[in-house]
């Protein structure tokens, strides 16, 4: 049986180097990431880059944005879901580490024996 429920996948601060935002997706699950919000709390503009890892160990640069100083934010995902299968991850880096907050949520699909 497939069960899909709303889920929060992660929140926190974006690191200076490439670091994990959410994932990896555990076995038996599939994540539909419907929301990914970022907000810049620094007093300077911050460039961020977001990467997808959908299979293997390859990170694919997916989106990038410049967040204005003190309050600039982005909605990297706010419409169609990004689907992550087992092992899938979303990663990011920022030009200034630990200043940009993020929040990721969506639908967690689990498959169980009916």
């Amino acid at each position: 049986m497939i069960v899909r429920l709303p889920a929060v996948f992660g929140d926190g601060l974006v690191s200076g180097g490439v670091g994990t935002l959410i994932g990896p997706v555990p076995a038996g699950e599939r994540w539909y990431v419907t929301r990914l919000d970022c907000s810049n709390g620094a007093s300077v503009d911050v460039d961020i880059a977001i990467y997808l890892r959908t299979s293997g160990a390859t990170n694919r640069r997916w989106k990038s944005a410049r967040l204005d100083a003190s309050g600039g934010h982005c909605e990297a995902i706010d419409s169609k879901a990004v689907e992550l299968a087992e092992g899938g991850m979303i990663l990011a880096s920022a030009s200034v580490g630990n200043q940009v907050t993020f929040y990721a949520a969506g639908i967690r699909e689990t498959t169980t024996d009916a």
Partner: protein, 432 residues
């Protein structure tokens, strides 16, 4: 049962229909109201106030003679003493036979009525210790009986109408603390009066080192005595003597020697949970302040924070009640207590929730700047920031996937003017 599509739509399967007949809905109203962020008020909890009092021995009542049953004339401000203070009654006269009834409020705001015996001062007596004697070398002066007990302790005066400056006197006795004290060579007066700089609670011997035909007397100057109230007062309403005397007294206070809690404007409930700020133009960083109250859930909350240094410090905890703000040591300076700007808490998830729609409408003529934030339980994420002109409305999340939030998460919001923007928040709370 409930289930969701990959884009977050809720599918509701009714009991009588078969599989695959699910429909979608946007959930129920989770919250509705008017956005009313809290506006900072640095003196909302306690007005700017001194943390210690400097000595002022007639600050409460200027010098006046007690009259039976007639309240003393009190200085303005006697009804508000910040910080609270012990009262000092001072007089040169012996008023120990008169009791003064003090009526007022203590540091906790409780009514106090105290009976206090007046001070026993010692008016000037130029020959109270030794009367009109000619010094003879190594022969102690004949002392009056009172010399054995001088209460209050006092200076000694040596008075002569002749020149005795060639004679020195050894004075032996006890100081104001009851410790042995000797002045080996006090120079005699020259047709005048000289006073010791030391205070004496007992004089056991005054011995000249040489002989002279001139005479001298030993006594004391006007010597004030002080009695202290047992209770520190935050307000004094009346001070009434039960006897009459020609001698005068004054009432005031000594310099603070203990720290008292701040006088709060309205101790207790704050209306909505908020952090507490302490503000000062002084450097109070070396002193800690204890904040005592209750948290958002009504549970006791006790937090200690360092004082401000020409600025403001803010508590970490949110207080729904604040009852005591206590400096943990005495310090000179002034401070006020209040609260900072606080975002309006539109919704707090009591269980995992999914926000599907937020409707906002500006009900006033002024353009409103809306700042929506999501508190995840560990961090605050700026979520949406936009303006609403007069009568304009906004639908946040309409046409977008719902926003799942964890238990304990909050939707917080600020608007330009409190009470200007109404809202309804739709979604689903609980996983069903």
């Amino acid at each position: 049962m409930r289930n969701f599509t990959p884009t977050g739509e809720l599918k509701v399967r009714t009991g009588n229909t078969g599989a695959g007949s699910g429909s979608t809905e946007i959930g129920t109203v989770l919250a509705a109201g008017v956005i009313t962020p809290l506006v900072a008020d640095p003196e909302g909890v306690a007005e700017l106030q001194a943390l210690s009092a400097a000595e002022d021995l007639d600050g409460l009542a200027l010098s006046q003679a007690p009259a039976d049953g007639v309240p003393l004339v009190l200085e303005s401000g006697a009804d508000v003493l910040i910080p609270p203070r012990v009262l000092a009654f001072t007089s040169v006269a012996d008023l120990s036979g008169i009791e003064f009834e003090i009526s007022g409020l203590d540091s906790m705001g409780m009514q106090q009525i105290e009976q206090l015996a007046g001070p026993a001062g010692a008016p000037e007596d130029a020959d109270g210790i030794a009367q009109d004697q000619a010094p003879a070398a190594s022969t102690p002066l004949v002392l009056e009986a009172v010399a054995a007990t001088l209460d209050p302790p006092r200076a000694l005066t040596f008075t002569s109408a002749t020149d005795l400056s060639g004679v020195t006197f050894e004075i032996v006795g006890l100081d104001e603390n009851g410790d042995p004290q000797t002045v080996p060579a006090f120079t005699g007066p020259d047709n005048d009066t000289l006073a010791t700089s030391e205070l004496w609670s007992e004089v056991s011997g005054i011995t000249p080192d040489s002989t002279d035909a001139g005479t001298l007397s030993v006594g004391w100057p006007d010597t004030a005595a002080m009695v202290l109230s047992t209770v520190p007062y935050a307000s004094v309403i009346d001070v009434t003597p039960d006897g009459t005397d020609a001698g005068t007294l004054e009432v005031g206070w000594r310099a603070s020697d203990v720290a008292f809690a701040l006088t709060l404007i309205n101790p207790g409930a704050l209306g909505s949970p908020r952090r507490i700020t302490l503000s000062s133009t002084d450097n109070l960083a070396a002193v800690q302040f204890q904040l005592v109250g209750t948290d958002e859930d009504g549970e006791p909350l006790n937090e200690t924070i360092d004082g401000p240094d020409n600025g403001t410090v803010t508590s970490a905890g949110l207080f729904s009640e604040i009852n005591i703000i206590q400096p943990l040591e005495l310090v000179v300076g002034s401070i006020s207590a209040g609260w900072p700007d606080e975002l309006y808490r539109m919704f707090e998830a009591q269980a995992p929730a999914s926000i599907s729609h937020l409707y906002l409408r500006n009900t006033v003529a002024q353009t409103q700047e809306i700042d929506l934030r999501l508190w995840t339980g560990s961090i605050e994420v700026a979520w949406r920031h936009f303006e609403l002109e007069e009568d304009e409305s906004a639908s946040v999340l309409m046409g977008e996937p719902p926003l799942p939030i964890p238990q304990g998460a909050q939707i917080r919001v600020a608007a330009t003017d409190p009470g200007a923007v109404s809202f309804t928040l739709h979604g689903i709370e609980g996983e069903g």
